[in-house]
Amino acid sequence: MSILIYAESSSEGKFKKVAFELASYAKKVAESLNTTVTAITVNNTNAAELSKYGVDKVLKVSNDKLKNFTAKAYADIIKQAADKENVKLVLLSSTTDSLYMAPLVAVGLNASFASNVVGLPVSMSPFQVKRTAFSNKAYVISELETEVKVLSLAKNSYGLVENASTLTEEDFAPTLNDGDFSVKVESVEKASGKVTIADAEVVVSGGRGLKGPENWGMLEDLASVLGAATACSKPVSDLGWRPHSEHVGQTGKPVATNLYIAVGISGAIQHIAGISSSKVKVVINSDPEAPFFKVADYGIVGDAFDIVPRLTEKLREFKANS
């Protein structure tokens, strides 16, 4: 009757930060349900780290066939673990991989599923959670009406809470069949050494106000000082100045980061929807009427070409001295 979490690993076998956030969240929920937290890991080499965040037991799956993420196989593993532990609540992160398999897990377990969950359950009985809807323009309280439930927790919505526990480690060998691998990974392309929007604590984003792709160097300098990922508005990606993978907004990527710096982005409603889960927003724009100022925490009205290089230098000094 434990809570089961899927603690996601990187391709190097280390936990992603979202795994610890999920463990922290699960621990809190488990306390109010008077139960324990069981984690499942796939090809992870540091399972013991989970004891820092309140996990009581970890089921460790090691299998070379699972080197690449395969939604069907991974969903199958989680289902088997949930059955074995008689689990009624399965918690997943909101990474691309976890969101891919979540509905498969839910159907496999005859469970209901709620994605983009923010915060602890509003009520345990009936079981109600708060989730974002209408592309972050609103929240909905959803009631999950089946006995088994699957939730995916929105990134950066709960945070890390340390909570030492005694962790029992157990090897787990699920039964996999050929059908689990009917979608075959042929190749993976990942930019190495670059901070991705999904993992970044800080995102530096540029809009049409930057006038052309040749001016992105100064944003990349600012991003590199902050260890940030770079992103852009929809017009910029439509114009081909930056790749689609950097487009953030309602029809692009959502950004839920600690600090979002928008340079030369006016703040169309679709863009704001995509970044509204970010904690602190800074806007640099020459137009004091830009709608982005209405939703920003800090704003500078002025010329980005003058401000950004000076800000980068000052941040470089600040980082060097701190």
Partner: protein, 248 residues
């Protein structure tokens, strides 16, 4: 190849979102409805298969009669026929169950749905369909090629992309990239005229379990006013980010 494109009827991306009936219902007053953008990329890719590979394209929506203009728009863009399952889309599992019935009856080879709709953002219908039917499934799909019964797709992953190969029948959770924004089709007059005469079949829903219920809606809390900092005082911004916001 028979393709089914699943269409959600959602508020236009510029819509202001309000609620009514004690915050229990979405207020559709003054809201323009459109084809869910993620579905529109899939629809345009399906039309490409129709034009280049002779595919037949059906569009389907689970919704009331008020959603028919959205289906007609899809027909005007080029779909061959449309199906409407006459039921309010109660939750993702309910919708997936209805669509699974349509797919079983129509023997489709390729089913394209948006990876999520821009209203409830559940992101579950394509995956649930795949699980109910036992079909192959690629989510967050940004490129798709079909050759006979083989398919190659790219899937967006955090920080990059992945190329996968699989076979039909196949369910796709689609998004931007399936086609480029500039290649999205806008219905022309001829398309709009022909759409009037194309078949739009209305089916009654099958019994299906409703597993989740929207109890209440909330709007985000109003935000305090922006703190403006002079461009000549960038140290102040760094100070605020460090000491007040504690993000650097």
């Amino acid at each position: 190849m028979k393709i089914l494109v699943c269409i959600s009827h959602v508020p236009d991306t510029t819509s202001k979102i309000n609620f009514t009936n004690g915050d229990a219902e979405f207020d559709t007053n003054g809201v323009q409805f459109v084809i869910n953008p993620n579905d529109e990329f899939g629809l345009t890719r399906a039309i490409w298969f129709q034009e280049q590979q002779g595919a037949n394209v059906t569009v389907v929506n689970v919704g009331g009669p008020d959603t028919e203009p959205t289906l007609r728009k899809a027909l005007a863009i080029g779909a061959n026929e449309a199906i409407r399952v006459n039921a309010a889309p109660k939750d993702g599992f309910f919708v997936a169950t209805q669509l699974a019935e349509v797919i079983k009856a129509g023997n489709y080879d390729l089913i394209i749905a948006g990876k999520e709709s821009l209203d409830y953002n559940g992101g579950m219908v394509p995956g649930m369909l795949a699980a109910i039917l036992g079909y192959n499934f690629v989510n967050s799909c940004t490129e798709l090629k079909v050759d006979g019964t083989s398919a190659t797709a790219s899937r967006e992953i955090d920080g990059g992309k992945e190329i996968v190969s699989t076979t039909l029948p196949l369910i796709i959770g689609g998004q931007k990239g399936l086609v480029e924004e500039k290649d999205l089709k806008i219905p022309n007059m001829r398309g709009i005229m022909t759409a009037r005469t194309k078949a739009l079949t209305v089916l009654e829903p099958v019994n299906a379990e409703v597993t989740t219920k929207a109890v209440k809606f909330e709007k985000p809390a109003a935000k305090s006013a922006v703190k403006l900092i002079s461009p000549d005082n960038l140290d102040e911004l760094i100070n605020l980010l460090h000491n007040e916001a504690k993000v650097i």
